[in-house]
Every structure is written in structure tokens, then in C-alpha cells.
Amino acid sequence: MRRIRSSVGAAALLSLGACNRHQSALSVFGEEAATVRHLTIVMLIGAVIIAAGVAGLMIAAVRAPEGRLTLSGGMRMVGWLGGVLPVVVLLALLLYSLPSMRPLPVGANDLRIAVQGEQFWWRVRYQPPGSPPLLTANEIRIPVGRTVQFDLTAGDVIHSFWIPGLAGKMDMIPGRTNRLVVRATKVGVFRGVCTEFCGLSHALMAFDVVAMEPAAFDAWLANERRPAAPAAGTAPGAQAFAANGCAGCHAIAGTPAAGLIGPDLTHIGSRASLGAGTTRMTREALVRFIKDAPSVKPGARMPAYPQLSREDAQAIAAYLESLK
């Protein structure tokens, strides 16, 4: 008995992990997710009522004296409660839930964000109406109150895009674009994850989602278009970045670095996390990631650099940190 109690306690403790505001379908900051949560609550209440009814019937059946129910009476009861009632309940539920399956309407003037899943990071391209696209990675910012369309695809294997507080999940499939329309309702920092097993570091493939006031979002987007650091190119870290061939895979706007294989690093210093939500953005984490990414993220496509000197790694980390 004691063992059962303690294991129930442990299971309850585990489930506490779901209690956070950043990554939870119950901590809602978008219209889609609000609909999903509403539907969940309605269904939960209905399920409780039905379960209580079934339990009551069972108790009544066990306690009833023999011969209380004739054969035809029993058959009638099964027909009504086991046949007609479920049909009515399920039909009502279907009719009630159908409207929530309709996607939000989206217009030609709405912001579109193309997100491509990669092993194990996110290639993000903002496509505001009437202006050129903007490439970044591993962080998504959206304006509160405006409709945003995500165009989701994958570069290598199947991934799945899920921001639990914003909307339902949507698969990212190579060679195909899936659309997900969302509208944020609340300012805050949230988190999204990959929910389709995609390789060794699937569990380390996440991203930060920042919902901002529209004016702040516009200002951020304008800043994002500018090269990050005025010092770019002259800092010792910039030279180490160039001398160690980082530009073969990474791009930093405003510098000769224009590689498209790995994540864009133009404003990496302003992101809250490193390695697609793997660690906090600190100098030490950067150094370690630069020297040996596969030890931080098993299976990462970025190779390790055992030949890179500690000084170079530190200079590059300081430089990346300064790219705000």
C-alpha cells in the first residue's frame, strides 16, 4: 500500500513538469489554442458526467433485486442508453466542434513566416507584405492581435511544429508546405518544440516564441534588418570567425559571411537560447558549442573543431554574443 502511495506521488510529481507558462496547452496566448482548450474543457466536463452516469447505473444494477428487469425492458434500456444516446451525444459534439476546425481567415496583407525544420534547428524567414524577406533562425517573434500565417516545411526529414500555447501541432514534411494560421492574444515569452521524432537530438529541438505588441514587433523587425554590430569585421572575434571558415555554413548580414547551410547568426546575441533551445545563451555555452557541437547536441550536423584554439573559440563566442 505504501509503495503504491509513493509511486502515485512520484507520478503526480512528474506531471508537475507540465505546469509552466512557457510550454503548455493550458497556458494559452493564441486564438487557436484558446479554442482547443475550450473544447478540451467541454469534453472533460461531458466525460465526467457520462462516467458518473455509467458508474451510477452499475451500482444500481448490482444492488437491484433479482427479476427487477425483464428481458425486453433490458433490451429497451440498452437500445436507448447504448445506441440512441451515444449517437445523439457524438453528433452534438461533432456539430459543436466543427466550427473550431475552420482555420482563421488570412489575407494577402498578413505577415507570413516560413519555417523550415532542419536536423535539429529551425530556419525562419519573415515575409512581411510589401517588403523583402528576412532570414533568421531558432526564434520566432509574432505581433499580438495580427493574423500570422506559418508556411511549414522541412529540409531533411519529417519534423512537427508545435507551439502549445498558440495553436495545435502541424507536421513539417520535406517537399510540401503546410499552412498554419495563428493570432496571438497575449504578450510574453513562450516556447515551441519539434513533436515528430527526427533523429538523435529530437528532444533538443525547440525554440523561443516571443509575442510582442505590434509597434514593438515592427521596431524589432526593422532592427533585425540592420547588420547587428557596428564593430563587425574589426573585432578579433570577427577575424577568428573568418579565419576558421565559419562562413562556409553561417551567414552574418553586413559581413562577407553568407553561408546558408547552418543557422543565420546575424542577431544571435539577442536570442535567449543557444542551439535551438538547448542551453541558455552564455559565453561558456557558446565556447563549448563552437568547439564541440555534437557533444552538446548528439547528431548535430555541425562538426566538432578539436583543432580550434581555446583563444579563437573564446574570441568567436564574444563576437557572437555582441551580435544583438
Binding site: N244, G245, G248, G259, I261, P294, P303, A304
Partner: protein, 349 residues
């Protein structure tokens, strides 16, 4: 009189024999002296066991093509510096000290004929227990072993002149003098151009920091090679740096020298294959030589291709266990049929 065999008697007898044997071993009466040699019958038995072992194991565990005669110079250089002292060489007698071993190392100018290529490969790769023959001094270098098989195969018919030409200054037994430059030059040439051999990289003009780092990696075993490991392990840190600088200062390979022909190879070298996540060779091995990487322009195509294949590793190894260092990862992204064209493009051949 008859003695009845019972379990008890058998066990007691066996224990008695074992105890006598242990007592003999404990007493020190057995003579382990190399100077006394073996009895003829012991000698025959040990060799019989050894031959059977080599024959059986070579048949099952060696590659079908166990010999590669494309790189006799590096094999000869290694033979001269590491093997000749025991086995002798054309025109070179083994050291009297080594011949005083039991068993003495065989004279390969006669003995090599008794073995097939695959058997020689097995002996070179694994060595022979109780005989003083060591195993190959590096892991995962079948290419080196194959070259040595080809060299040993040629020993019975090789003239002293041919041997001296192949082994270069290593045949003279020099090395400690001249900052050990002579022992490097035996294979890499006094001009650092590698004596025209495909498997020997050109050192002249190479990035000196890279050369010094490579020597250190060989000496510590981080980079595996029996030939270079033996050479580098005998150098002090200062000697390594001095030799690296001496070779780097010679005219030879130079950034921007490669690049001719094949459009597909040019694509990989100059721009990479982004859809295969393969960055351009030039993003590190740039044409201006301003970056912290070895110069590969004008390097030998055979050497580049061999290195790329070695980095790719075995196909059978699962991804998670493959080497995640820079070049192994990148080499695995080069399409297999593009290795040769890329190597030739870089070499400018």
C-alpha cells in the same frame, strides 16, 4: 600386476603432474637464456605452431588485395628506420645485437618468399607472440601495411642500389644529426616535394602551424600512422616546430594553385553543395591562404583522395559512433564518386 584405473587415481596423478610442473617452474631450473637457443625439436614445434596460426588466420582475416606497390618509398623509409636493424636489408647486415635474440629475426631476402601476400599482411599487422616481432604501430592504417607487404615482397630480388634509392637518406642510418631533417627527407625529399610519390604529401609551402600540429598529433597517436608516428615520437617539441618551419619555407604547394577542369569538382571546391550540407572547400582552404588551415592547392591528388576516404571511415559503423571532427564529417558529405575529381581539381592535375 595390473593397476586399476579409478577416478580417484586419475585425479591424484593429474594433480601430482601439475604440482611437479609448478615446482620445476618455481625452482628456476628452466633456462630462459636467449644465448642458449632452443632444442631443435622445440624450435621445430614453435615454428610449426606459428606457421599454422599465420596460415589459418591470414586466410580468414586479411583483405583479398593485401599488397599495394604504389608507395614503395615510404615503405622503404620505414623499413630502413624500423625493420632493418633486425631483418637486415639489401647490402645491410642486421645488427649483431639483434641477431643474438632467440629466435633471431629471419633474413627477409630469403624468408619473404615463403609467405603469401596475405600472410605477410597478417604478420605485419599483428606481429608474432614470443618472437619479438611487434604488431603494426598504428590502428586503422591498412594502406601502410599493404605498401610494406609490397616492399617486403620485393626484398629477395632487390639490389643494394635499388634499396638505397628507395629508402633515400634513411638507408644511411642517419637522422639524429642535422635536426633529424635527413630522416624526414628520406621520404619527403630534401626539397619537401615528396619524391614524386602519391602517398607522400608535399610539405614544401605548407602552413607551418599545421605541420607542427600534425607532427604533434602523430607523436601522441591522435593521428594514426606507424610510419609518421615512429618518426614524430623521436622529436622534441622544438625539433617539431623547427622542422615544420624549415619545410614550410620551401617553394612548393601554394594557395590558389589548384583548380582546373571538371565543373562538378569546381562546384564542390568553390561553392560546395548546400543541399547536401557540404560547405565549399574554399571556405577554409581559401585561395589566399589567409586562414588557419592546411594548404591543399597543388597537393598530390592520390594523397588528398586517400585522406578523404580515410576520414569517411567504414560504411558499416552507425552514425552515432562515427568521428564527429571537422574533416570526417565533411568528407562523408562529399559524394563518393566526386572524391577523385575533387582531389584532382585541387591538385591541379
Amino acid at each position: 600386476m595390473t593397476i586399476r584405473l579409478t577416478w580417484k587415481r586419475v585425479v591424484v596423478t593429474l594433480i601430482g603432474i601439475f604440482a611437479l610442473g609448478m615446482a620445476y617452474a618455481w625452482s628456476g631450473l628452466f633456462n630462459v637464456a636467449a644465448s642458449s637457443g632452443h632444442w631443435a625439436i622445440t624450435d621445430w614445434f614453435l615454428h610449426w605452431v606459428m606457421r599454422n596460426s599465420v596460415q589459418t588466420r591470414a586466410a580468414f582475416t586479411t583483405p583479398k588485395e593485401a599488397s599495394d606497390d604504389s608507395g614503395l618509398v615510404s615503405a622503404a623509409g620505414y623499413y630502413a628506420s624500423s625493420c632493418a636493424s633486425c631483418h637486415g636489408a639489401p647490402g645491410v647486415r642486421p645488427l649483431p645485437l639483434m641477431q643474438a635474440a632467440t629466435p633471431p629475426a629471419p633474413d627477409l631476402s630469403k624468408n619473404a618468399k615463403e609467405w603469401t601476400d596475405r600472410q605477410l599482411y597478417w604478420i605485419l599487422e599483428h606481429g608474432v607472440k614470443f618472437s619479438g616481432m611487434p604488431a603494426w604501430g598504428a590502428k586503422d592504417r591498412p594502406d601502410e601495411v599493404k605498401r610494406m607487404v609490397a616492399f617486403v615482397r620485393r626484398l629477395p630480388t632487390m639490389s643494394p642500389q635499388e634499396y638505397r634509392v628507395l629508402a633515400g637518406s634513411n638507408a644511411l642510418g642517419v637522422g639524429a644529426a642535422n635536426g633529424r631533417f635527413d630522416s624526414c627527407a628520406g621520404c619527403h625529399g630534401t626539397d619537401g616535394l615528396g619524391r614524386g610519390q602519391g602517398d607522400i604529401p608535399i610539405l614544401a609551402g605548407q602552413n607551418p602551424a599545421y605541420l607542427a600540429a600534425a607532427l604533434e598529433a602523430y607523436a601522441t597517436g591522435k593521428r594514426q600512422s606507424a610510419v609518421m608516428g615512429n618518426a614524430a615520437a623521436q622529436l622534441t617539441a622544438q625539433e617539431r616546430v623547427a622542422l615544420a618551419q624549415r619545410f614550410a619555407a620551401m617553394p612548393g604547394i601554394a594557395p590558389g594553385r589548384g583548380g582546373a577542369g571538371d565543373a562538378a569538382a569546381r562546384q564542390i571546391v568553390e561553392r560546395g553543395l548546400p543541399d547536401k550540407e557540404l560547405p565549399a572547400c574554399r571556405s577554409c582552404h581559401d585561395a589566399a591562404g589567409a586562414k588557419r588551415f592546411p594548404v591543399i592547392d597543388g597537393q598530390r591528388a592520390v594523397y588528398i583522395a586517400e585522406r578523404l576516404r580515410h576520414w569517411r571511415g567504414e560504411k558499416e559503423v552507425v552514425d552515432a559512433r562515427k568521428d564527429q571532427a571537422t574533416m570526417p564529417v565533411i568528407a562523408r558529405r562529399i559524394p563518393e564518386d566526386m572524391i577523385e575529381p575533387v582531389a584532382r581539381y585541387l591538385a591541379g592535375e
